[in-house]
């Protein structure tokens, strides 16, 4: 007598939407799914969607957990700029790959720690707390690059952006790894439960002994790390750092991806994979619009449309009329404490 696995059914709308968008692309461009191998790397529109969707997907992984605690991190775009600026400047200054990565990711962690402390210790509303770094962060990034667009030629760092591992582009690999690590971190430990508990009711969680400040700082630090990784990927891809434009408005795309992924902005239940799928849906639409020859700007309107539809589906006014999904697992009748009898219940 086990409870029906909730995973696939809960993720169904997102998978369905992704499939629908991909299918639409395929109908428009029969070549959409064709993938070819060239110079030991896969190419094709589908690979392109994955590759270009990687930065937002990376941001969405961190953002999902922040939103699950009923917060939001507006600073991820600025943190991307900082981490990219640090990586490019240090590489240009002749540092090795390892220290560059460490410094760049460290900068992201530090930014996350700052946000986390403001939210958890000073108890500043997340939108406001992260607004500070959103405003100042880009200034800091420009401070690092001294207002220049810093370019580099180091093949090691560039590999992160344009290389491939087992024919798969590195950004995709990195996203998959970060997703896997994050999922393991929250689902194989009790962190996921605590994040959801804090997101639903912080007071109650604290009263039950959940270390809420630590949980909050942890999610913002992790979000900062994810943003730093995204910043690295972008900087490595273009072999340079543009403090002004790197990650500009990507915080909004990341939030959008999380929302499309079905995690409520009011905190609580979250799905990491669903958020990544959300990012891919957005990217697939973007690619489709580009391929159809529409102006890329048209994408903004489509994005807005998607956002409204998803939100309408989550809107309390509408959900009143939708049936509640039931997941019946009957209470076990008194079982012997020794053996969890598999035949119990029916």
């Amino acid at each position: 007598m086990t409870r029906p696995a909730p995973g696939p059914s809960r993720n169904l709308p997102q998978y369905g939407a992704l499939a629908a968008v991909l299918l639409a692309n395929w109908l428009l461009f029969p070549d959409f799914f064709s993938i070819r191998l060239q110079d030991g790397r896969l190419f094709g529109s589908l690979i392109d969607v994955l590759n270009r969707g990687a930065p937002v997907a990376l941001l969405a992984i961190g953002m999902t957990m922040v939103i699950a605690t009923r917060g939001v991190d507006l600073s991820v775009g600025a943190v991307m700029a900082i981490s990219g600026a640090v990586a490019a400047t240090l590489t240009q200054a002749g540092w090795g790959l390892a220290p560059v990565l460490a410094a760049s990711l460290g900068a992201g962690l530090l930014c996350g720690l700052w946000n986390g402390l403001l939210v958890a210790v000073l108890r500043i509303q997340p939108i406001i707390a992260t607004l500070i770094l959103m405003v100042a962060g880009r200034g800091i990034a420009q401070l690092v690059t001294e207002g220049q667009i810093v370019t580099f030629t180091s093949p090691g760092l560039a590999f992160i952006g344009s290389g491939s591992f087992l024919t798969v582009p590195m950004p995709v690999v990195i996203t998959a790894v970060l997703l896997g690590v994050t999922a393991l971190l929250v689902r194989m430990t009790a962190l996921g439960l605590m994040i959801e508990a804090v997101g639903v009711n912080q007071l109650s969680s604290a009263g039950a002994g959940v270390n809420t400040p630590v949980v909050l700082v942890a999610v913002y630090v992790w979000c900062g790390l994810c943003a730093a990784v995204a910043g690295l990927v972008v900087a490595a891809d273009i072999r340079g750092a543009d403090a002004n434009n790197a990650g500009l408005w990507l915080e909004l795309d990341a939030i959008l991806a999380v929302v499309v992924g079905g995690t409520s902005l009011l905190g609580g239940r979250f799905g990491l994979l669903r958020s990544v799928v959300g990012a891919l849906i957005l990217q697939a639409m973007n690619t489709g619009i580009l391929l159809s020859g529409f102006k890329p700007e048209f994408n903004l309107i489509v994005k807005a449309g998607v956002l409204m539809v998803v939100l309408l589906l989550q809107s309390p006014t509408l959900t009143l009329f939708l049936p509640r999904p039931a997941s019946p697992r009957p209470i076990r009748p008194p079982a012997k404490p020794e053996s969890p009898s598999p035949s119990a219940g029916a």
Binding site: I132, V135, G139, L143
Partner: protein
């Protein structure tokens, strides 16, 4: 009594002290010309920030204002230059479209009970997207009225002048102060920001007020778009990118609680001036790089948020003034 106005006092003090410091370093600073330019350069920001203050007072937020400004400038350019409209009728259409756009967002927020943050984010995408659809290029506006309006100004001795944009901003601020404190609409806004449910139970027309406040914000963003197009003499869909952030910053520095219910329009005005002052100082200095503006504003934001946090803790920490007979 005094601590109710403390955020406002601190904001004003920052402006005055900042200005005096600037003037001490650069004597040319303390001139009517600089002050006039400060007002002109920040006119569109000030007008937008007034609308944002109302929205934030009511407990919401409007991320679409920058995009609406950009869209308005393109719309004006397209109507005047490509459609051959007279600017005045183009202004009227632009204001109506911007106001209607805000009202639509307000209606969605109210009817579907959706977070304003997200609805106006979608609005931002829509407005920018529509701007791009109209034109992706910067279109110069060459109508003679634009040149006339650009020259229109109250001139003072010493080269100082109050241009039309600056006058418009001052007028909007004055009207907004009256609206906030001497109209029922203003009281309803504060009520809504204090507690939506209580306000509703007390008979505040929540739906109407919500729609109206976003419509007002859209309308003012449209007006700011007109001012912006006068100021730059062009329409460009990428114009005023990030202005939503600047206005929110001005509102917070001006002492308004981002959670709604507490704050003053005049504070926002001062907040706009402080931001302008920092920018002007960095221009005057010449050796300082532009990114210090962002960092300085970030630091100011942090300080003011901490200040508000402290004050709110003091206010709510002491309940129960004895009042029984």
């Amino acid at each position: 009594m005094i601590h109710r106005f403390l955020p406002l006092l601190v904001t004003s003090a920052v402006l005055v002290v900042g200005f005096l410091l600037c003037a001490a370093q650069f004597p040319a600073f303390a001139s009517l010309r600089v002050v006039g330019n400060l007002l002109t350069d920040n006119a569109f920001l000030g007008i937008t920030a007034v609308g944002m203050t109302f929205v934030i007072l009511s407990g919401g937020i409007d991320l679409s204002v920058g995009a609406v400004i950009g869209f308005t400038t393109v719309l004006l350019a397209v109507l005047i230059e490509q459609g051959g409209w007279h600017p005045v009728s183009a202004f009227a259409v632009a204001l109506a479209v911007a106001g209607g756009f805000g009202a639509a967002m307000g209606a969605v927020i109210h009817v579907f009970q959706m977070p304003p943050f997200i609805v106006t984010l979608a609005g931002m995408f829509v407005a920018r997207g529509l701007g791009f659809v109209l034109s992706t290029d910067s279109i110069p506006i060459n109508h003679p009225l634009y040149a006339e309006l650009g020259d229109l100004a109250l001139r003072f001795d010493g080269g100082g002048k109050l241009t039309l944009p600056a006058l418009l901003m001052l007028g909007v601020v004055a009207a907004a102060v009256v609206c906030a404190h001497w109209t029922r609409f203003g009281a309803n806004l504060y009520a809504l920001g204090g507690n939506r449910q209580s306000a509703e139970l007390m008979g505040v027309p929540v739906g109407r007020t919500t729609v109206a406040v976003y419509a007002l914000s859209g309308l003012l963003a449209g007006l700011a778009g007109i001012v912006f197009s006068l100021y730059t003499g062009a329409g460009y869909s990428l114009a005023a990118t990030g202005v939503e952030l600047d206005t929110i910053t001005a509102v917070v520095i001006g002492g308004t609680q981002l959670t709604g219910g507490y704050g003053y329009v005049i504070g926002t005005f001062i907040g706009v001036l402080i931001q302008g002052l920092i920018q002007t100082y960095i221009t005057f200095d010449g050796s300082l790089s532009s990114w210090w503006t962002k960092i300085a504003i970030g630091v100011l934001l942090f300080v003011f948020i901490l200040l508000q946090k402290g004050l709110l803790a003091v206010w709510t920490g002491r309940g129960g003034a004895p009042a029984e007979a």
